[in-house]
Amino acid sequence: MQLSDFFTDYTLRTITLGTAILGAICGMLGSFAVLRKQSLLGDAISHAALPGIALAFIITGVKDRNLILIGALISGLVGAFWIKGIVKHTRLKSDTALGLILSLFFGFGMLLLTFIQKMPNANQAGLDKYLFGQAATLVEQDVWVMAVVTGVSLFVLLLFWKELKLLLFDADYTKTLGFNTQFLDILITSFIVIAIVLGLQTVGVVLMSAMLLAPAAAARQWTNNLAKMVALASMFGALSGVVGTGISASQSNLSTGPVIVLVAASFVMFSFVFAPNRGLLARAIRFRRNRKDLNLKKTLTFMHHIVRNHENISHPHSIRILNNFHGFTLKTLSVLEQRQFIRIEGDQWSMTEEGFTEATSIYDQLGQTDD
């Protein structure tokens, strides 16, 4: 396969478009899941969709994509509500409820799948594609469905943007302003479930949750603005979809799900390390700079201590008396001189007017935090 195939090959174009749209909707709605602290709920719902896929086939006897999507949707929702029921009505905590529904539904689904495999029904082949997803099975109609759903959810998201943002940040406050939080809650949860179900064919039930989380987690590192985060997450998602599909299509024997997830995971890793401000690298640099700054401040306040007992603050003192002070190095001394906080003549230093004001203000700040 060559790059130019993407633009000429009809099937490939369909598939690429499909995964791009899927990535975009996952990134968009995933941002909400992550900020609502519902990251693992997506995992449980996607696993819980499996019995629905199998049952839709067993009941109808045909392998119709849309019927299967509806089956997945129903069993995903049943799983989601059962989780809520377990947490609400029993002493079991949410992690146990998630793990229970995830594994029990999936186990039941696998039972049904292996049962179907033994059924004398020729067209059953291909249901196991839903485990890890196979983008190659996408056809134009699927892409249309995805595009319409993405369009609708984007529209609804924009329509209720203000209310959803408020709900994510402060649910109680939202209620006091007179908004119906239950409606908003159901709205956003249903869209997340729909996004999961849409992705099953491409990414599969086992790894679908990562598709929801990873773009959002990566995007969060680059911006402190919700709108930008959602836009960026959609972009990361779309990019993971396209790149992942490209790689898996160029190799034989490779399901799309794992490849897309790995591409998305590398976005996350890159963002964790290199994002400005929040990234680990930026943080390490800031930490070092702060420590240097702190040493500088310590030295200056120490000098201030010596100086303030004299009538003339610019009275020179020997550098040697600083030696027994902890944060002192010759380097800090020269930096202080550069900033014109002190003057150095021979082995004597003296404080400038600027230095004295600076030291006084540092002193005040420290005093305040001690309160």
Binding site: L35, L166, F169, D172, K175, T176, L177, R220, L226, D371
Partner: protein, 248 residues
């Protein structure tokens, strides 16, 4: 039962609230006149936050009713502003100080309509009032505890309400912020607003407030500070060792 009069900002009748059937508030009757600056005091677990949340309709009571200017809260939403406890939200949320303050305008905008220049101007003015204008574009996680509290206060100010309900606005803030907040509260009271504040520090009650409610699951006493803030009521609320609570 006091007659439902419009001169009462809030009237609570026979209010009982229970979490999982564990009673938190028992048969509370409370009348808060308009224009007072009131502290709600009581020991931990006395139901102070619960009382505020039930007034706001966040928590559904199992019995009793709340009236705001003589009508149910749901009809008076625009007249009431709420400052929740600082710890109740995720401060790592991707948004700026100005954005949070703008949220105060959402209620009057109603569904779907977006805030415009007018709302932005009001929000900036509120930020200025709490001394946070310089931080308007700051990501909220980069603010100190006191600054976060001021942002919350600004958000309530933007609501331009008649009644302000505040849940421990002085918790974890520095002395400067505490002074700044109390000055704003006193100013609001002067302009005729009603302020209800959950408060922990008994020592500052006489200095800050003119009205006080003692609460410990049941309503113990409510009235002007100068009349009822005394040993008798403190003992009833905090038990024999209330002095320990005062000194803490």
């Amino acid at each position: 039962m006091a007659p439902a009069s419009t001169s009462n900002a809030i009237q609570v009748d026979d209010l009982t609230v229970a979490y999982d059937f564990k009673p938190v508030l028992w048969d509370i009757d409370l009348v808060i006149p308009e224009g007072v600056l009131m502290a709600i005091v009581g020991p931990n677990g006395a139901g102070k936050s619960t009382l505020i949340k039930s007034i706001l309709g966040i928590i559904k009571p199992i019995a009793g009713s709340v009236k705001v200017f003589g009508r149910p809260y749901s009809e008076q939403v625009s007249k009431v502003a709420y400052v929740p406890q600082k710890g109740s939200v995720d401060w790592d949320f991707p948004t700026t100080a100005l954005d949070v303050v703008m949220m105060g305008t959402y209620g009057s905008l109603g569904w779907i309509r977006r805030p415009g220049q007018k709302e932005k101007k009001r929000s900036l003015e509120a930020l200025e009032k709490v001394g946070m204008l310089a931080f308007k574009n700051r990501q909220i996680s980069q603010l100190s505890g006191g600054q976060q509290q001021r942002i919350f206060l600004a958000r309530a100010l933007v609501q331009d309400a008649l009644i302000y309900l505040m849940d421990e606005p002085f918790q974890g803030v520095d002395a400067t912020t505490e002074r700044a907040i109390i000055n704003i509260l006193k100013e609001l009271r002067k302009s005729g607003k009603t302020l209800i504040v959950v408060h922990h520090d008994l020592q500052t009650v006489p200095e800050y407030f003119d009205w006080v409610t003692f609460l410990n699951v049941k309503s113990i006493a409510s009235g002007p500070v100068k009349d009822i803030f005394n040993d008798d009521n403190l003992t009833k609320t905090y038990g024999i060792n209330y002095k320990v609570a005062v000194n803490k």
